[in-house]
Amino acid sequence: MKMTKSPWVLHYDGSSCNGCDIEVLASTTPRYDLERFGIINTGDPKHADVFLITGGINFQNRMVVQQLYSQMPDPKVVVAVGICACDGGVFKDCYNILGGVDKVIPVDIYVPGCAARPESIIEGVVKALDILKKKRDRMKQGLPPEEKGWAIANIRDGKALAAQEARINAQLKMEDEAREARYRAHEEAHKE
């Protein structure tokens, strides 16, 4: 019996235009019918095996994505659906966007497209199942499920982490300054 016959999917929509989101839901409809592979779209990270993310990562949802990922029991795989989840897409240069999902958690399968079609989403999930099986086999041998220790600090010799930190700090500084400016304007308005 194979574990990959019953992959339960947790779907999270980051900051996308909802196009891929709708396509993911379309793949559960009678026309595409994800359930024939035993796939269930669950709302509970503790029951999920496949983490399906659409849309890019921004300053507000990075903690959410990291938390959802940490709540999923091993073995687990992550599928980034749509070009925004792969590397940020058209939103890449926006002030609030960090980039693709791989900026905050390790991604196993990238499904490109804008929006990704249901056929390619289903293929992406089915491909991810092979990786799920490999991870399970590694766990049975007493190894960690990931092949190499994934950490954002290891990407591009730590430059990726430094760049991300710099962007987050710049964002926080900007917000602080804006808040202070608002406060000062408020004070001055009250003086008069």
Binding site: M1, K2, M3, K5, S6, P7, W8, P30, D33, E35, R36, F37, G38, I40, N41, T42, G43, D44, K46, H47, D49, Q71, P73, D74, P75, R136, M139
Partner: protein, 288 residues
């Protein structure tokens, strides 16, 4: 001999329950014009859960889920070894109580809210389950299952009201629409995954296994209404009706939307009072 049958049924029940659950998912998919999962899908799900790492929230949760499992098994054993039917119902209630406490033991808000709803569901089902037992008693003048199945008239003839009432609360026991307010088979719902929100891995597999036992137990309750004279015909009719009722439950699940808890309480208690209560009144007056 009877005791052995009880142990045999403990082995048969999970397989029968899982196949029934698989058929349910298959039929449900076909009703929606989908291909649907294979019939053995519940076994795959079960195996998957045993392979996953479990996040045990606390030691108590694990113990309570085991209790949930063991008391349903006890309930099956009591019925098939011909013991007291009332005891089987109390054992089933205790088991549901344990699942409820397991949900309360976790600090997750969804888990706690579902546990409250589970209590409400129990308030809806318990009067009817007890009246079912009383219906059997008024038919055969005994709570012992061995006497119930060897009574000369099947219980359905004297207690059709109890049967109707049991059908109304059956969706609650099987966690199906319109009364799946605390937890549902369809994972996407407002309660995330209801009482099992904080249960994962092997513990979740145990909950699934218990679910199969519960499905089998509910079929048994339905079938018991048709057994008479300890005859094969009675048992066969019972099995056939139980299967038909399961199909009707699948249909109900697909046709009805989920109701709010107030509605659930109103519907179940009114049917319990009118159908089963009326039946009880008539039977007592006739026998007086």
């Amino acid at each position: 001999m009877r005791i052995l049958l009880g142990f045999l049924m403990i082995l048969v029940a999970p397989f029968a329950g899982a196949i029934l659950s698989g058929i349910d998912r298959f039929c449900s998919a076909r009703m929606q014009r989908r291909v649907g999962p294979p019939i053995l899908q519940p076994f795959y799900d079960f195996y998957k859960f045993t392979q996953k790492k479990a996040y045990i929230v606390n030691g108590l949760q694990w113990l309570l889920v085991w209790g949930h499992f063991l008391f349903v098994v006890l309930s099956i054993w009591i019925i098939y070894s011909g013991e007291d039917f009332l005891l089987a119902i109390f054992s089933l209630t205790l088991s549901e109580m344990m699942l409820c406490l397991a949900a309360y033991s976790a600090s997750a808000p969804y888990s706690n809210m579902s546990a409250q709803r589970e209590l409400l569901q129990m308030a809806c089902t318990e009067p009817m389950l007890l009246l079912t037992a009383i219906g059997f008693y008024l038919n055969s003048h005994s709570f012992m299952v061995s006497d119930i199945v060897s009574c000369s008239t099947p219980a359905i003839l004297r207690a059709p009201g109890m049967f109707a009432g049991l059908l109304v609360i059956l969706p609650i026991e099987l966690r199906k629409s319109p009364f799946d307010v605390s937890s549902s088979h369809h994972a996407h719902q407002e309660m995330v995954k209801g009482v099992t929100t904080d249960i994962s891995g092997r513990t979740m597999a145990l909950v699934e296994l218990t679910e199969w036992f519960e499905i089998f137990l509910m079929c048994t309750f339905v079938g018991l209404f048709f057994a008479y004279d300890n005859s094969l015909t009675g048992y066969l009719i019972g099995i056939a009706v139980a299967l038909a009722v399961m199909l009707v439950m699948t249909l109900t699940d697909n046709v009805f939307p989920r109701v709010k808890w107030e509605r659930m309480l109103a519907i179940t208690w009114s049917t319990t009072f009118i159908a089963a209560g009326g039946n009880l009144l008539v039977l007592t007056l006739l026998q007086a």
